[in-house]
Each structure stands twice: as C-alpha cells, then as structure tokens.
Symmetry: none
DNA sequence: AATGAATGAGGGTTCATTCAT
DNA sequence: AATGAATGAACCCTCATTCAT
C-alpha cells in the first residue's frame, strides 16, 4: 500500500481550494445561475466530474465559496482589531481603512456581489451572512463609534446610521470592482484613495468641533 | 373604422407597461438568468407567448426594463433640479434627499440590483448605464459640490470622491432593499431617515467651520 | 337586409382561390412544415384568422391546394387529349409536349414538389395522388405507347418503363423549377426546349427503323 | 495512459456515423422541418442531448448528412469511372447503370429528396450541391456523350439536354423510392430493371443508325 | 365576414448531474 | 481519484389555432 506521492498528495489537498478559487471567479463574473460548472472545473484545471467529488452540487459549491471567503476575511479583521487600541478615529484610520484596502484588492471582494445577487434565492446564505457578517460587523463598528461619542471624540450622532454611512461606500466599491468597473475604459475610482478619503470625510463630520484630532493627518 | 374596440385597445396599449412591471419584479427577485419568462408573463396576467408579441427575447425585455425605469427616474430628477436654486446644502437637502426617498420606495430601485448583477453579461447595458446614469449623475452632483466649494460654503474636498461618498450609500440602500432586506426579520434601516441622516453626516463633514448653515436644520 | 355590394361579393367569392394561390406559393417555397399560416394569409391579403374561415386547418389547406391544382391540370389534359387523334408520335409532339410546356410555366408545377415532400406524412394525399394522377396518367401514356407498338410505329419496348422514361424528366423539370432552379445564377435548362428535345430523343429511340416519321420535325 | 477504454472509445468514434444514419432516415421520411431531434437521437440509440455533443444544431446536422452521403457516393463514382475506358455506350451500360443501381438501393438515395426539399431554405446546401454534384456530374456525362458524338458512335444531339434526359429519371427513381414508393401497395417500378431499360431506350435514340452496337446486348 | 391579440402545446437547445471506465 | 460521455429535465421561443370584438 504505497502512500500517495507528495506531489499528488499536495495536489489532492489543494483541490478544494483551487475549485473554490475558480468558482468564486466564475460565479462573481457571470452570476450563479449563468455560471457553468464546466467553466468552474476547467478554470480549476480539472474535468467536470471531479468537481462533484468535492462538492455535492452547484448550490453547495456556492455556499462553500461564500462561507470560505467570508470566514477568511473575518478572521483577518478580528486579528487586526485585537492588535489595536486607542481613539476611535485612529482605529478607523489604522485598522478599518487598511483592512478594506486589502479586501478590495483581493478576489474575496467579489463575495459581496455574490451575496447581493443570490441571497434571495438561497435563504441559507441570508441567515449565514446576517449572522456572520452583518451582525458582528455592525457590532464592531458601532462599538468604535459609540466609544468615540462616549469619550467626547465624536459628536452625538445616530450610531446605527453612521455605521452604514461608513460601510456602504466600501461595500459599493467592492461591488463596482466586479460589475461596472471591468466594463469601463478608465477606472472610475482609485480604490485605496477613495477608502481613505471617504473615511476622512466621515471623520470630519463626526469629530467634535473642539477636538484636537480634527485635522486630516499627513 | 377602428378595428379594435376601446376595451381591447386599452389592453394592447397597457400590455408593454404591465410586462415591464412584472419583468422588473421577477428579474430583480430571481436575477435575470434564474428568472423564467413564464413567471414574468403570469405575473403580468398573460400567457407565455404573449410576452413575445411585445418583446423579441428575454434579453431585449431586460434591456427594455432597464431603459424604461432609468429613463423615468432621470426625467423626474431633472425636473426637480431645474425647479431649484440656492446653496449647495439646501440643494442636497431639498432635492437630492427627496428624490432618493421617492426612488427607494419605488420598484425602480430594483434596477440598481439588476444593473450590478447583469452588466458584465450584457455590454450594451454597461454602455447605456454609464452614459445615461453614471456620467450625468456624477456631473450633477459634482456641480453641486464644486459650487459649494467655490462659494466657500464647503471645505475644499476632493469633489469626485465626495460625490461617491454621498451616492454609494444611497445606491446600497436600494440594493439592500432588494437583496438582504426581504430576508430579514426586522428592517435593518429606516430608508427615509437613513437617507436624511447620511446626507446630514456628509454635510457636517463638508461645510466650512465658520459657515452659518452648519447646524442641522429642524 | 342589404345584400353585399358586388365588390365585396366578388371579394368573398374570390377568397378561397386567393388563399389557395398564396398557400401554393408558400408551401412550395418553404415546405409545408416550415411554412407559416401567417405568410399564407398575408400573401393572400387577409389576416391570419380569415384563413380559418375557409379552411379548417393548415393540413386541410394543404390537401385543398393539392386537390385543386391537380384537378385543374387533369381537366386541361383530358380536353387536349379528346381533341386529338392520330399516330402516337404526333400525339406526343402535339399534345403531351404543349401540355407540359404550359404546366411547367404555371404555378401548378409546384404541386409535384409538394406531393413528393409531404406524401409520407399525409397518407390521404398519397391515395388521392395515386388514384387521380399516377394511375390515369400512366393509363393515358401507356395507351399511346401501346398503340404505337401495335401499329408498328414504335419498336416493341417495355411500355411501363417507357412511360416513366418519358414522364420522369418532365416531372423533374417541374421539381427543379421550384427547388434548385431559383438558387442558380443562370437557368440550368430552357424548359420548353428541354421538353421538346427530351420527347424527340425518346421518339428517336422508340420509332421503328423503317418508319418514315423518324426524322425530327422542323 | 489512454483516458478511454477501447469499448467506450469505439462508441465515441462510431457515434457521428450512427447519428448521421439516423438523421438521414428521419429527415428523408419526415422532411427536415417536421423531423424531431428526439426522433433522430432515439433512432441512433442515444438521448436527445447526446446529439448535441456531436453536432452544433439541427441545421448543422442536416448539412453534415448531405455532405457526408454525397461525398461517399461521389468517391464511389469516381473510382468506377477511372477504372473504365471504351465506347460511350459501354461506359453508360457498365459504369453509369451499376452505379445508379447501387445508389438506388442505398439509403444515400434519400439525399435527393432532402436536397430538393430543403435547398430553398438553406442556400449553403444549394451552393454545395451545385458545386459538388450538379457541375461535376454533368461534366462527366456530357463528356461521355460528347465523345460518343465525336467518334460517330452517337447522333449529333444536344449534349446538355441529353444529359438531363438520361439523369432525371434516375434521380426521380430515387425520389420515388422515398416519397410515393413507400405508400404504394405494390412497387411501381423494379428499380434495377428500370435503370437498365431507361439507359437502353436512350441509347436506342442516341446511337447512329449505321453503328454496329445499336442492338441491345444480351 | 374579418380581424389580430392571445393562447399554450411543442420542439430545439443547454447544462447540472451521473457513472462506467 | 479522475475522467468526460451520456443523460434528461428544464427553459426559451415559435406558431397553429381560437375567439372577443
């Protein structure tokens, strides 16, 4: 009983990840319904049937894609947060901005499009996304804003709405990257700069008038 | 000798609009690829074949839907704009906010989801949307912001980024209404209040410190 | 109770014939299955529904077309025959040749294509065509040939085969006119001359060596 | 490492031919438009979808059928011709007659019906058939007849018309086999004998009076 | 008698899924 | 484990037929 050679072993273990990567690309580009499993398999370098050795159906592949990339990004976010403390503005500038800058550059940014598009056809995804992304995400940011208010750093704004004024453009940036973006001759926005400017604009609206940190940092 | 009696004539003239309404609903809910022409026809109260008396194909129906609802909303927006003059903050509060409040309540808000979802599969839609929505929309808002800066009402921010910090949350609100929104037990946001608060937050970040209009209006 | 005006009356009485003419054209050009009843109706200058006031179904229209044009041509042939007597060669030259020359010029020539094409799908047509065309047609020509043999004018050939050696090219000429013919840049054959030459060539093979009529007539 | 075992490989290689055979049968029997792809697939012993693994559409299947059977028969004809030399009458009797006798017995004879029926709907087929069948076929037979005239074996007839007096009945025999033939109680013609007798009748009309070969051979 | 909008069954085609190899 | 040929359910679209006007 010879064990699998290392090369083959590595291959076999890498398969699910390769399939997830391929599926993310194809699903985000075409939409789930219009995507062909053939395309996914070929982009992963395997034959159509092989896909079904790892995922029971196209739908389960979709769910696996969404779960996988969301889990990765959440983990990264949590790491970044625990490593930081300090005033709210600094947290936004030094944790939130870089985390979104990294996300918008990664293929995982396509998951937003996938969720927006497919969530009404797959209630499981809605529940998962709400539980794993929306609720914890809002909790984290609401905490930051609330602490800023409590400390006098921020004006006493509506926390809930502020969170979405902050988040929605960052999500839209990711959506744009995978929808209209690729159809345009010239890029509509520079993602990293937009993220930074957007956060600064919000901070300008949030920071208390007498607060020393009001000036935009270099 | 009119060959059609009034009753029948009325039906024939109303059909395209009824089909567009039904198609918008079904396409936004299911996505274009997953939508069945049967569903569209039945929701419009006609049989499958009837749809093809008015639209040459499912794809042309999609394009007609997008063109129709975009054209309507743009017309409404232009009317609102020409009827107004005054400081930029007032324009945002009195024209932009009500226009988006009306839009988010109307079925036409679903077009954003449709465009985001399908634009990569239908280049014609990309061209149309860029030409008819993105470019004029940005032009209008950039004009408002720029005038605010020029008059000293606003701080000298990056106009381009400011426009998208303003717009993206409003678009996301529409997307949310047709994607995760219907899956949630309780509404995540009150649309009209969010629109107002978002614009006020941005204005707080935009208005020049010494400017008298800085205070949120009653 | 005003009677129909003469114009309308005439119109109404002419309808079936106009529909038959249109149907012949469309059926012959496209084939029965590929022909659309819309096309037939519009070519007859009426709306689609009107066709069904005169014919119960597309299939009955087909049968009516075939019956109508065959009946006309057979009647013409019988008239020509009874008006003639004389040697067999003269009958062929003076009755058969002109009858086919007229037929190949008339739209009725398309019926051959229709019958060849559709006979296997519509057994009724097979029975009708065999009974009304094949059998009487062969009887007439076999009679002519047989009389030629009996009188010593013709060599003692196989009558049955001779009939089809005579007829088949004339039928093929009609088929060609409605199939490959219209696709060609230049006409492949001059129909009238081909009919005459074909009959002469056969006569050259039929006539007894010593017979005086062997020479081709001017 | 051949990925396909012999048994499976053999199936895959045989499939196109099996599908062409089935398609020829169904198309000739029903006509192209009335034929159902289901019928073709089932007659080939496969499911409907399998057909589309080998042919892109029903129309391409039609073209493949026509091209395939025509190419086969032309190849056979050319072989027979190059193997022969001698007087024109002998060529007709020893090459043309047997070639048509074989053809009328083979399913390929149905192609004539297919071409006659469909040529007006598919211009590609018209061009192909004219180029590959009509023109070379006429060239070959016109050559035979012309050489007969030049050598004094044949009377100085119109070569072009003679070719079609010769060919048309043979084509009609093939058409008959697939149209009215199957509808008749008793066969109207014995194909092999008719072909022979038809050629002999034409030869009787063609051969010069003084020529020794005038007598029909045993 | 005539119209033509509406119907819905039918057929071409696609593609997720299976399974023999 | 991997393949890819085969399957057949599903869906877009057409068009013969109907019927309200």
């Amino acid at each position: 009983m010879s064990p699998l050679t290392p090369a083959r072993q590595r291959r076999k273990e890498a398969r699910p990840q390769e399939l997830l990567d391929a599926a993310l690309q194809v699903f985000v580009e075409k939409g789930f319904a219009a995507a062909r499993t053939d395309d996914v398999a070929h982009r992963a370098g395997v034959a159509k049937g092989t896909l079904y050795l790892y995922f029971a159906s196209k739908e389960e592949l979709l769910e696996a894609v969404i779960r996988h990339y969301i889990a990765s990004e959440i983990a990264a976010g949590q790491e970044a947060l625990v490593a930081h403390a300090g005033p709210s503005a600094a947290l936004l500038r030094e944790v939130v901005v870089p985390w979104w800058q990294r996300l918008v550059d990664s293929p995982a940014s396509g998951v937003f499009k996938l969720v927006i598009t497919e969530v009404r056809n797959f209630p499981e995804i809605a529940a998962f996304y709400t539980r794993e992304v929306i609720e914890p995400g809002e909790r984290v940011l609401a905490g930051i804003v609330q602490r800023g208010i409590d400390s006098g750093e921020f004006r006493p704004v509506d926390v809930h709405h502020t969170v979405y004024s902050l988040l929605f453009p960052l999500v839209m940036l990711c959506l744009h990257k995978h929808s209209l973006g690729p159809c345009m001759d010239r890029p509509m926005l520079d993602p990293h700069r937009f993220i930074r400017d957007h956060v600064e604009l919000l901070l300008a609206g949030l920071l208390s008038p007498g607060h020393g940190a009001a000036a935009t940092p270099a």
